[in-house]
Symmetry: C2
């Protein structure tokens, strides 16, 4: 850890980061950083990094419009997020298609329905049929209407961020100042690795930090492509890039909530295609946990996969990565439900399989009860050798809650399973998301807040017109 930490400080001091926003460079210059305006390179010395890290928060709460669904990011808390970003969507009934707002809403409904999903990702899928410059208003509206969970602002420039801030404030009945004291938004700031921060994203990030909202800095360190082919080198780069963004948030607003993002994985060196859930990805996630704890920061990582189908590969890649997220002490497990095809598709069936895997993990994380009742000596004394415990009072008192009850798993014997149609887990997942959408209940919103939101959206669509938001 120390060698990786020291190498990342050398990267920040000697190589620097290209920061493509003049506004952001001005913030760095004011703080004493070495800024080269010609190349846009910003170099940070280790004292400046240490000072900025000293104002970060180890743990904080994000509150959505339903305060019962607030999430704590930090410490031993684990929060699971919905897939975000794919241009396509797939289910086994309708096949693969371009992202669209109807499927967007259904995916948000499913996230609301399954309790283990607690955060809506940064644009669940791209609703490509909507105008690009006002699309964010429709997706924020869906995030606020079909669920009541924490969601992400789109940090492509300050305009889209401010719309999220205004809309969440309206939905919660808060002023912007009150919202800054009780943050409810987050976003992923992807670094254009190696060592480049995009201008609009840096400005979106600063807008969020300025208003007290959370950001997560995630370097895009695919080993062999955007970062060295070695895990240690990729982690040194990830660490440098993440620390750079984290420092910037603290320069904008000391104490602004910020998350250390880890996304280091490898590519297929024959094709350049990204790979996830690999041994390299698993070890990078676990090591990233050590780095985030070194700085006392919340950690984001992701249980992603590169499969083209919601099949066995998608599950072993995701589950290897999910275990590494948990073993790394990840607080925000992003893209935890519905990710497929290396992020090019959101899958309804994969979402259901992921909910099953997340629920398993939640069960694993509940400690084993060890007390006199649980140790069961009397129960053992009461069952003869070679007997069984089905009718034991000890069993009857506990059987309803003793074991995790699965969502997808089918434990019937082969003959009964065959007679019921021999459906594999993916086919059963199709039945389950359809049932979930039928059973889904839309969370209520007070009419005055609904009206205020509708008015805001209408006004902003008119203002934006065909321009930039």
């Amino acid at each position: 850890m120390e060698a990786i930490h020291q190498t990342s400080l050398r990267i920040l001091e000697e190589l620097g980061i290209e920061l493509m926003s003049p506004e952001a460079r001005a913030v760095c210059r004011a703080a004493g950083a070495d800024v080269d305006e010609a190349s846009g390179t910003v170099r940070l010395d280790r004292e400046l990094v240490a000072e900025a890290l000293a104002t970060t928060q180890a743990s904080f709460t994000l509150t959505p419009r339903n305060p019962d669904h607030a999430v704590v990011l930090g410490g031993d808390h684990v929060t699971f997020g919905l897939v975000a970003g794919p241009p396509n969507v797939h289910d086994c009934l309708r096949g693969r298609r371009r992202g669209n707002i109807a499927d967007y809403r259904d995916l948000v409904r499913l996230a609301h329905h399954f309790n283990v999903i607690q955060i809506i990702g940064n644009q669940v899928i791209a609703p490509v049929e909507l105008p690009a410059n006002t699309r964010h208003l429709d997706t924020y509206d869906a995030n606020l209407t079909y669920c009541d969970l924490v969601f992400h602002a789109q940090a492509i420039g300050a305009g889209r961020v401010m719309d999220a801030i205004h809309m969440l404030a309206l939905a919660r009945g808060l002023s912007l100042e009150e919202l800054a004291e009780s943050p409810g938004l987050t976003t992923i700031i992807s670094v254009n690795s190696p060592r480049r921060f995009d201008g609009p994203m840096a400005e979106g990030m600063m807008a969020l930090s300025r208003h007290g909202q959370c950001v997560c800095i995630t370097p895009f360190t695919l080993m062999g492509a955007m970062s060295p082919v070695t895990i240690a080198g990729a982690l040194a780069q990830q660490n440098a890039e993440a620390l750079f963004g984290i420092v910037l948030t603290q320069l904008v607003r000391p104490g602004a909530p910020v998350i250390y993002g880890a996304y280091t994985s490898n590519v297929d060196l024959r094709s350049g295609a990204p790979a996830f859930g690999t041994p390299e990805n698993v070890k990078a996630n676990i090591a990233s946990g050590q780095l985030a704890r070194h700085y006392n920061l919340p950690l984001r990582a992701s249980p992603t996969n590169a499969s083209n189908a919601p099949d066995a590969q998608s599950v072993y890649e995701t589950l290897n990565a999910l275990w590494s997220c948990v073993l790394g002490g990840t607080n925000l497990i992003y893209h935890a439900a519905g990710w497929l095809e290396g992020g090019l598709t959101a899958s309804f069936e994969k979402l259901v399989l992921d909910v099953e895997m997340i629920q398993h993990m939640v069960g694993v994380l509940e400690p084993i009860a060890v007390d006199e009742g649980a140790l069961a000596f009397e129960a053992l004394a009461g069952v003869p050798t070679g007997g069984h415990f089905f009718g034991s009072p000890h069993t009857l008192e506990r059987y309803e809650t003793a074991f995790y009850r699965p969502l997808v798993s089918d434990w019937q014997n082969y003959q009964a399973w065959e007679a019921a149609g021999a459906k594999d887990a993916t086919a059963r997942a199709t039945d389950i998301w359809q049932r979930a959408l039928r059973e889904y209940q839309q969370p209520a919103m007070p009419p005055d807040r609904r009206e205020a939101l509708d008015a805001y959206i209408a006004q902003r669509k008119e203002e934006i017109g065909s321009g930039e938001p």
Copy 2:
């Protein structure tokens, strides 16, 4: 751990174990145990347990006919075993069928072909077309002919065990005394839980221990059925039953190699069907690791599943359990390849998916290299911001071995994958086991040993006739 340990000692002292072999009871009585001949109950006090545990080995080597394939059981070593025991076999081309010797041989061939499988389980599948009383000779012959790995003796009575001992000694060109000094066999001694040791199995176990071969004592503690519904209670019972068998091995031959077996999982309380890879199974495996380390014993656990198909469920159940095996420090990961349907079927496709998951885990267990080359500062300095590392000398020097190369995973883009037939991972696994059987190479055996084995088998078949072996 201490509470579970103490409860298990109370079980051994106060409740005792029903030991159905008079010969084994005589061994216990001679050692000072409290034996009730009428009920067959044997009670062990904690001093006797502690004395016997003091002679166990923390680590030992098992050597098969090819000494290059010897395995160390104990310490940080992890060994993966082939599925064992199913009455049925399945592949996606030929469907589900009864166990038979042709499929038995193919499964052994696959175990030999894939390097990560290092132990042949206790009768891979049941070859039900062969006479039950001499079937073990045919399966030992397959184990010695189609692979050169450590294999299991069948511990149903001393006769079948002695055949394994004689056959391995012939295949290695050793005397029985030499074989006792260089053990090469192991077996699973399943406890007829709760608290009953079957007679033939106890006698098979003693025969192995007497000849210095390894046994693994595995209580069959399915929570809610053969053990209490609580994890702590099931572990206390598992621990008592495992310690009982372990003590017996040491009474027969102090220092005899013995493994602590963990198989605690839950049942579906609505149907009584066994379940695996559940949160309860995962936690029991991890806790079992703590217990085994408490006694400084090698651990066996299993990454099993209850799915009826080689599908997403089979993979998430197996992989959750596999992670728990590794996190528990399991030395012998038994049934690691090919298990399906709660153990009622051996699956060719699942075997391939399991090899992929085991290979991933082996990659995960390789430490991250951290040295100046791996930290890659110069490589980072040599790539411009926003550039890429594909052509970097640092990448070119390392790309061939930098990343794990998968067996089953397909990382092509969607269009290329679709054009290639849109095969999911299970369909690709069908192609892979067929190719593996084509590429398989039978390990050579010196002609004199081959002849000696053939003569032994022929003689024993005649001796056994229609009687018991």
